[in-house]
Amino acid sequence: MKETFIKTEELSFSYQAQTENEKIPAVKNLSVEITSGEYVAILGHNGSGKSTFAKLLNLILEPVSGKLFVDGKERTGELTEAELLELRRSVGMVFQNPDNQLVATLVEEDVAFGPENLGYPREELRTRVDEALATVGMTEYKDYEPHKLSGGQKQRVAIAGVLAMKPRCIIFDESTAMLDPSGRQEVLSTIRRLNREEGITIINITHYMNEAAEADRILVINDGELLLDGTPDEVFSKRDLLLSVGLEVPQSAELVFRLKEAGIDLPTDALSSPEKCAEAIAKAYFAQCKGGRGNG
């Protein structure tokens, strides 16, 4: 049994409406537990509060009510600056637009930005930057200017910038949404490697079903509330519920559901990857063949 890394208790947040004193609730009493080393995807349509929820986890936004525990310590309430910095060091975040999160004019200086802020001595900075760039495979670009890189490369630099702070957990806030398919693959395989090889807890906020299918666990957030929590197999078996909140299942799973609707008897409890879907269809096909032979 692995230890809990992030735990929220009844966490809520509301945005100030622009005109009146009215408040718009974005996250409503969310209680979630994420264990160390887990790969969690958070699904939700636009405006569901999933990004807001993520920003609460490293206190970029301050919750209105509820409690946040990270690494066993309560992080809500009065925090000293050192505690806040420690929280942000251990829970890093990569955003959607790669252009808006790179600070420095050279790749390696940008990667050094986080550790520089934390005040590490220069030799330490050097090793951290070199290691982080090597982990994301961008070492040869260390003297480049960020605007000369592709979207996927920029996003990998942004990941390196977070990695250089040696975080325990990285939150990806729709980090692949603005990338082309090859850039998306670059980032996704980096995320996978960080989770498997470095043991970093991953929280990937996305609205791509295929991306969510890669996670160990999916949280579906709708209207600021937790709608579903389970493995990809469990979540994708509830297609109608997902459709009702503006989400869909991966295309291969959709195919299985359509076949089922057409009257073919198919299992729908394990549809998180195209392989599993193909397996389900193949099983049904052979079952029917056998049945056919039995009759004849």
């Binding site: 942000r88 808006n100 050094a112 520089e116 220069r122 900075l125």
Partner: protein
Amino acid sequence: MRGMTLGQYYPGTSPIHRLDPRAKIILGILAIVCSFLCKTLFSFCLLEALVLLLVILSGIPPKLLIRALRPVLFILLFTSLVNIFMTRGKNLLFEYGIFHIYEEGLWNALFMILRITSLILMTSIFLTYTTTPIALTDGLEQLLSPLKKLHIPVHDFAMMITIAMRFIPTLAEETERIMNAQRARGVNFSTGGLIKRVRSLIPILIPLFVSAFNRAFDLANAMECRCYHGGEGRTRLKVLRYNVWDFVAILLLIGVGVGLVFANRLTFGGSIL
């Protein structure tokens, strides 16, 4: 736009490229002082020799350097005309109606041209051509860091300049994209009078500002996530270090300045020469 590099930096490894940016800022200031010290043709000759030496040392193609002079061409022309026609001296060379041209006026014009051109050439060799903008900002920050004691936010200013430089190419790309989008809707940017052209900029500026603000919010979040909390307790990956040559260069240029003062006193036959 994608291939655009910032400033006029000319990559290289010349002795001037290798000087510390702080030293180069000081050298740039000394170069300005030197060009104002010159008063006689002889000292100007020395100054031009220095400029020539710097051009050769820096290894920057003269073509590029001439480009640096282009923006001041008008000022050069204007000041020399003013000098030629307005200077009153003893030696009248030419007279036509209200126009009087004296020998002193011609000399003044020549000196002014030499002074401005060598000033610009030397500062651009020391600063813009051989130093990257980011190194220049770093140099300026560290050179001015004693002012932190007077509660002047030196780090914050340097950070702002760095971020501004980081976003110039991004915003340039964005501007082009917006212009293309507006062109596709039939906006014409290249014809019409001044007022019409300025007006056609409005549909570019508004989306550009909106997106710049959004970028600023995003960047602020990203910086907070990466533990930014001002300049206090911040270390740097790259720290500037003076070496012997920086001091040698500064001393040499001070020497040149002193030499120029003495050169001004040398008179050949009592004339301005």
